[in-house]
């Protein structure tokens, strides 16, 4: 498989007047095209920091992040899509205007790009809500709109920063299933950060287990499920529990 992103010897610390807090130490891994990588680890271990580094929102103190062999930076071309914990749809914009925000910011709003985004709205059942305000959508539809806003920029790689954690449990299961299916259908590479092991196993093709702060990679566990089954079906399959126990053990093992 084609190598897409390379994270090489990345370390990062936070600095305050009170002192230095190391967050990540010597992180190495490679992302291949079509991967769905799930990063799990104890809370506050620096998972989100890792995503910010991969998106170029932060610069690593040591090491580098490469996308197609080129160093990732904020100034670089934006082939990286980022989904935040909350959908942050703007209430002063209609759903359509919200999903067009990225194109508008990058001055790429043409009738052609607009058409393709409207096509995404149609495919994913939001077209009839295009003139509605975000508050009129359900939690799941909002998250879907947020994903379409990210997909509008045609990113090579999607970074998902706990995008379901603000939803209630039931919505979370269906939205996880939904978003997972959309990402698969669009043929995107994705990296998901989560503290929810079940979510990681139900969506990922590989799971990266991080240690406590400063985070290092404890283990990379490949996940194998039949191609055809959905995230929800994965949760009911017998292998699910084995994976869960394996990762649980990995997470709680003392260094």
């Amino acid at each position: 498989m084609e190598q897409l992103m390379d994270i090489s010897h990345v370390s990062y610390s936070y600095h305050t007047m009170q002192g230095e807090t190391p967050a990540l130490s010597n992180i190495n891994f490679t992302v291949h095209k079509g991967d769905f990588l799930a990063i799990v680890g104890p809370s506050g271990c620096g998972k989100s920091t890792l995503l910010s580094l991969m998106a170029g929102l932060l610069e690593p103190e040591q090491g580098s992040v490469f996308l197609y062999g080129q160093k990732v930076s904020l100034k670089g071309s934006h082939t990286i899509g980022y989904m935040l914990q909350h959908d942050h749809l703007f209430e002063w914009r209609t759903v359509e205007k919200n999903v067009l925000l990225g194109l508008e910011i990058q001055n790429k709003l043409t009738s052609e790009t607009k058409k393709s985004v409207l096509g995404l709205l149609k495919t994913y059942g939001l077209y009839k809500f295009k003139d509605a305000r975000p508050s009129q959508l359900s939690g799941g539809m909002r998250q879907r709109a947020a994903l379409i806003r990210t997909l509008a920029l045609k990113p090579e790689i999607l970074l998902l920063d706990e995008p379901f954690s603000a939803l209630d449990y039931q919505t979370r299961l269906t939205v996880g299933d939904d978003i997972g299916a959309i990402i698969k259908k669009e043929g995107k590479t994705a990296i998901l950060v989560t503290h929810d092991l079940s979510e990681a196993i139900s969506l990922g093709t590989q799971i990266i287990v991080l240690s406590k702060r400063p985070a290092t990679i404890k283990k990379i566990i490949p996940i194998h499920f039949p191609e055809s089954i959905s995230a929800l079906e994965r949760r009911n399959s017998p292998e699910f529990k084995d994976y869960f126990n394996k990762i649980w053990k990995e997470l709680n093992e003392h260094e």
């Binding site: 929102l57 209430e91 002063w92 910011i105 305000r133 806003r149």
Partner: protein, 266 residues
Amino acid sequence: MNEVSIAQQDFLRSQKKHKRIVHVSRLCIFLLFLILWEGAAQAGAIDSFIFSSPSKVLLCAYGMVLDHSLFSHIGITLFETISSFGLVIVSTLIVTILLWYNKRISEALEPYLVVLNSLPKSALAPLLIVWLGANYTTIIITGMSVAIFGSILSLYTSFQSVDAEKVKLIYTLGGRKYQALTKVILPSSIPSLFSIMKVNIGLCLVGVIIGEFIASRKGLGYLIIYGSQVFKLDWVIMSITILCILACVLYGLISGLEKCYLKQLS
């Protein structure tokens, strides 16, 4: 779905009745006040030379309408208030955006803004007259001085209270600081801008009246101070009444604008 239950109808009826009673009571209080005032003046219970009376105020206003002097006084005060209000809003936006862009500037200027905001601005008026002369500019600047520092501080607070994650979203979509300003910071600060405007229109009026007290030959503030000096208290009370109406109308205009904005949102 459209059928309204009897309990709901009863509730709506009682609410309507409640509102009607409140409105009627408001009107009654006003009329009672006028009647008592007029009656007391007619009966000689109060000295109408000092306390005036509704009829004397009306007659005085009528006289000034006939010789057109009333409109020019109102016009001048209105012009000065709206000018200083407009300038306050424009300069507040410019300065606040500058402060937001540069953390160093904002931190360096913060103590000055706080001191200038808590300073009683009427203390500045005599100084402004000496520096700028007794003219419209002075009065407009006095009006501005009352409102501007407070509104910069509140708008800056509102800029800062915008969710940092929303700003981050702009960066993840490939935007820069400028897009963060135009796509997130400004639109999310519009509600606070409206409340700042509502406060400021009143403050500008206060500032303009202070300015007119000491540096003017025209305007309602001049009429009040001159009337009190020559014991033409009809003028004073008439001017105060007109100021009340003016303040209500200006506030109402901004409220109306805000309502239009909110309506367009839904």
